[in-house]
Point group: C2
Chain length 338, copies 2
């Protein structure tokens, strides 16, 4: 026996709000107070109401879904960011579909070119391997906000921290503690590895500023930014005969891998070698020693990205692209004597 289909009107009556308000909650296009949203959701639940997405799609061309494309979910920085983006989107009634690109250029191209444009109203995208040319060639007009350093001067909004300045500040801090052989772990050969390039530039700027020579043997290249890469790079630095007295790692995972190698081989941190990372993941706050790091304001990154995307979705993609800078902070902890 088929029950009569529950409609928007039934939900509105039970929740004591207008049909328009129910529609707003269901579609998630405008900001509804959370009290009202809760009331409507409770009514939806009680009546077991199902919005007819297909009909809505045809009528409005919208799904209420945005995509967040990140390289890897089990890199804690992206997991923390994903949590914050999901929360910020939720406040606007948007559902987040999370895409994992594996930092593959091919997957990232598919994402940029709107492979799922029929599903989503907008895209927050943290590319690792895309070239400026890839992005310039983008045909898809789904609103998109990029996370991470500006990769081209084209029409996409982007939310960034100043990687050069942050990396420079971390390196200057190591020099200020009296270190003279400051190594870097995290250089990458891939030309598209923009983050790595910028952090390396900041590292070299700091060395120049304090008059330390740039020594290529102290710059360690890695394939990816995982703990295992940091552990291996640190072993190479220790084995080269001229061990460093400090290491700036381009993310916290690399630093935690390096820390493991140092402690395993009986070196004292920070006594023998001081260590600094980048990202301020929770992991580093509970390591022993706790990890000195650059802390980007991840809450601001998530909120700005969602706000900017929502604005873009409302206004269309014609407005001029914006660069939104979010602050960062150097957190001095035990691994550099803090």
């Amino acid at each position: 026996m088929e029950k009569p289909r529950v409609g928007l009107k039934d939900v509105a009556r039970l929740a004591g709000v207008s049909v328009k308000t129910v529609s707003n909650v269901v579609n998630g296009y405008v900001h509804v107070t959370s009290a009202t949203r809760s009331r409507v959701e409770a009514a939806i639940k009680e009546l077991n109401y199902r919005p007819n997405l297909s009909a809505r799609n045809l009528r409005q061309g919208r799904t209420g879904i945005i995509a967040l494309a990140v390289p890897e979910l089990d890199i804690p920085y992206f997991a923390e960011l994903a949590r914050l983006v999901v929360s910020a989107a939720e406040e606007r009634g948007l559902t987040v579909l999370i895409d994992q690109t594996g930092a593959s250029r091919e997957r990232e191209q598919l994402v940029a070119e709107g492979f799922r444009a029929h599903l989503i109203d907008g895209l927050i995208f943290s590319p690792l391997a895309l070239t400026p040319e890839d992005l310039a060639a983008r045909m898809d007009d789904t609103p998109m906000v990029l996370l991470g350093e500006r990769v081209y001067d084209g029409p996409a909004d982007h939310v960034v921290v100043d990687n050069v300045a942050a990396a420079k500040e971390a390196t200057l801090h190591l020099a200020a503690t009296g270190r003279r052989r400051i190594a870097a772990i995290g250089a990458q050969d891939d030309v598209a590895a923009e983050t790595s390039r910028l952090r390396l530039a900041g590292y070299f700027e700091a060395l120049a500023e304090v008059g330390l020579p740039a020594d290529d043997r102290l710059v360690q290249h890695v394939d990816t930014y995982h703990r295992a890469d940091g552990a291996r790079a640190m072993a190479r630095l220790l084995d080269c005969g001229q061990a460093p007295d400090a290491v700036f790692c381009f993310n916290d995972l690399l630093a935690l891998g390096a820390l493991r190698t140092l402690l395993e081989r009986g070196h004292d941190v920070p006594g023998d070698v001081a260590l600094a990372g980048f990202d301020d993941i929770e992991d580093g706050r509970y390591a022993t020693p706790t990890l000195t790091t650059i802390s980007p304001d991840k809450q601001a990154i998530a909120r700005q990205a969602v706000d900017q995307l929502a604005a873009r979705m409302a206004k269309g993609s014609q407005a001029e692209a914006r660069e939104i800078r979010v602050p960062y902070e150097l957190m001095i902890r035990e691994s550099t004597g803090g």
Copy 2:
């Protein structure tokens, strides 16, 4: 100027496959070899083809999307699992929409009751707060596979490790290293906290088996399973006057928090206190000391969940519910003298 709409036929011609094959790739319903899938995706990209989802929805009532609902993405166990589920789903051409419930019972009820049933073909769900009654009351007929210990004898498939046996094995291992005051961190007051209840049961079974008294002062309750909870619980154990000589923590994050407290206060691990966790997250493999832990086969959990969900989606929800057990392994590392 409007370009003529690119259709399935154009993609099929360029890829050198049948229209049916293109349709299979786009809809992701059957297993297509990855070589064929790549060829079709390349053609889709080259032609900038957009499947018309709305029309497809109306015709077939399917979206090619499954949801994965987990409590929190920045708990590394769930992040690792999410990565594996996304990969396993991708091999079947399914897109995963990731839902974050925050372990709130209300959010979990919404998920179980199919709030987004219009969007998804199936649901993989790791509930933390739902009661058996909540699940028994579920009206939605979207195929669902539960992760984690069986919470009721109703019609849902579930993929589990044997939490009681695993917790018992970890505790027996601590006893086998000669420890006599073995504490537990991770008990929870919430009646719906099934994982906690089962791991506590395994802990008590082990104590009984080796003839150690169960001492309530050695059982620490926590609100959540984060590092901060573990750190505080360890501090309480040390402050109670009768410090333990071993601690079994109900997940690795709790153990890493406890480890930080122990090292910060100058205790040797495992010399003074041995530590064991649960989950085998990467974090614990790079801690110093490395963390002894129960390692559930996460790859098997992800694959079994996706396979079972796909089977359920194909066959409909009438077949009898299955319980699928996946193996686990005790990984003995430095924190217990391994």
